[in-house]
Structure formats: C-alpha cells, structure tokens
Symmetry: C2
Subunit: 159 residues, 2 copies
C-alpha cells in the first residue's frame, strides 16, 4: 500500500511518463541523461519504485510504468502543469524559470490547492468571452510598475 512518494521518486515517475508519452524507450542511460544523475542512481531509484509496484523493472531491459505508476506520474504532471501555466500565463514568468520552479514545487501542492489552481486557470484562460482585461492590466503593471489608468477605468466601468 503506497501512500506517499518522496519528491525524488515522483520526479522519476513523471519522467518515465514523459518518455512513454513520446514513445521513447525508458532506459537507464536515457533517464540518467534527462535527469542529470549518474546511472547507478537511476538503478537505485528503479529498484525502489519496483518494490512498490510503480514500475516494472527487470535488469537490462527497458523500464515500464505499471498502471499504478502511470497514475501517479500523471498526477505529478498535472501539478507540474498547473503551476507552470500559472507562472507563465498569469505571472508572465520566463518559461524556463517557470518550468524549474514548477518542477520543484509540484511535489508539495495539495490536492485541494491543485484543484483550485486548475479551476482558477480555467476561469481566467478559458473565459467564454476571451481573456479578461485585467490580465492585460496585470501585464502592464509588471512591465511599467504602475497601473494603467486607461485599463483601470475601463475594467471598473461596470462596477
């Protein structure tokens, strides 16, 4: 019965899912390259994960996520994407930095917060009437350091 994974293990699960999604074989070498760790580290991790039935690991053959591992990886990925999108789309953070931050923070976003963050993004970015004006105002504020009088006026006209 698995109830928790360390951030490290979650990273491996997420990476395995990515590889699978791209139809790349998940080899020790490949994972090691992508995660910037040495091969023995990967072997250690795969053994750990297979003890928990999150991956199917047989020496010298490509690694496969189990159904359980896939679910877990997908979950990590959702958290990653929610955070990354928020940073990029709302906060206008540089995509590389956003990805890095998301990659670290993803392990600590609780289910409730994830759900809210996702809904927030939907609310803002999938508004049936197009992107809300305040997003523009926010971008202006980021850039100039002050609020756009014009947008401020327009945005509040209806309030």
């Amino acid at each position: 019965m698995v109830v928790k994974q360390t951030p490290t293990m979650e990273d491996y699960l997420e990476r395995l899912l990515m590889l699978q999604a791209e139809n790349k074989p998940a080899t020790v070498t490949e994972i090691s390259r992508m995660m910037c760790v040495k091969m023995p580290t990967v072997v250690y991790a795969m053994k750990k994960l297979s003890e928990q039935n999150l991956v199917e690991y047989n020496k010298r053959s490509p690694i496969k996520l189990t159904r359980k591992g896939k679910r877990w990886g997908a979950n990590v990925f959702r958290r990653h994407e929610a955070l990354r999108h928020f940073l990029v789309e709302i906060l206008n953070v540089d995509p590389d930095i956003a990805a890095e931050d998301a990659c670290k923070m993803e392990h600590f976003l609780s289910p409730v917060s994830l759900e809210r963050l996702s809904k927030f993004l939907d609310f803002v970015l999938k508004c049936p009437r197009g992107k809300p004006e305040w997003l523009e105002g926010l971008a202006y504020y980021f850039e100039k350091g002050e609020r756009s009088e014009e947008l401020l006026a327009r945005c509040q006209r209806g309030g």
Copy 2:
C-alpha cells in the same frame, strides 16, 4: 560565502525569525516543540547554521539570528506569505492547508516568481477601486462549478 540553504535549514531560519518577532526566547526545547523534531536534531541544525554565521549558537544559551540569518529568514518568510496569501485570498483554500502548502513550496519559489507573485497580489488586492469583480466571479465558480452569468456579463460590459 553562503549561496544556498536546504529547505530544512530555511525552515529553521524562518522559525527563529518568528520567535524573535514574538520576543520569545529561541531555546532548543522551544524550537524542537514548534518544529516537531527532537532536541538533538535542533542542536545539529544550530551547529550547521552557526558554521555559516547565520545564527549565534553557544551551548546552553538562547539562540540568536545574525544579521545575515535574519535577512535569510525574512526572505523565506516573504516567499511563505506570498504563497499563502495567494492560496487563501485568491484560491480560497482553507487557511491551514494553505499554510502547509506554502511552508513546503516556499523553498522553491525563485526570486523572479516571488516578485511577480507579490505584484500580482498587490495588483488584485490593493486595487485603488476595491477588489475586482472577477474575484467574486471566481469564488462563485469555485462554489458552484460554473460561471455566474450575471457577473460574466457585468465584467465584460466594458470590453
């Protein structure tokens, strides 16, 4: 020359700052209680931090942050607060959960993202014309699972 702290050490610095702010003496026992670790763990941490001149630690006397340690702690706190506020004020996450999530994620928020997040919160919560309407719409969306037609219409009147 200190360039980085582990999340753990950042937590101690933050906690020390809190104690100081409340004028409570920072003893091993107190820190141990507050951080839910045993006393030897605290001693270990204080030794580590004092090696880096982040705290003044002399056996059997109250622990003090150095100027450097204070700065670092304050920085952690800023990240904590930005995240917590976002979760509470924007995403309406339960305050306890928000605090927990913030406490974990705070260690991984880059300076750029912090700056943007803080500005975002200012922009939204310190709007000179009061809280923007879309926040209400968002709360509605969280609660009902769908957009409020009324607010949608009003919010867009000016766009």
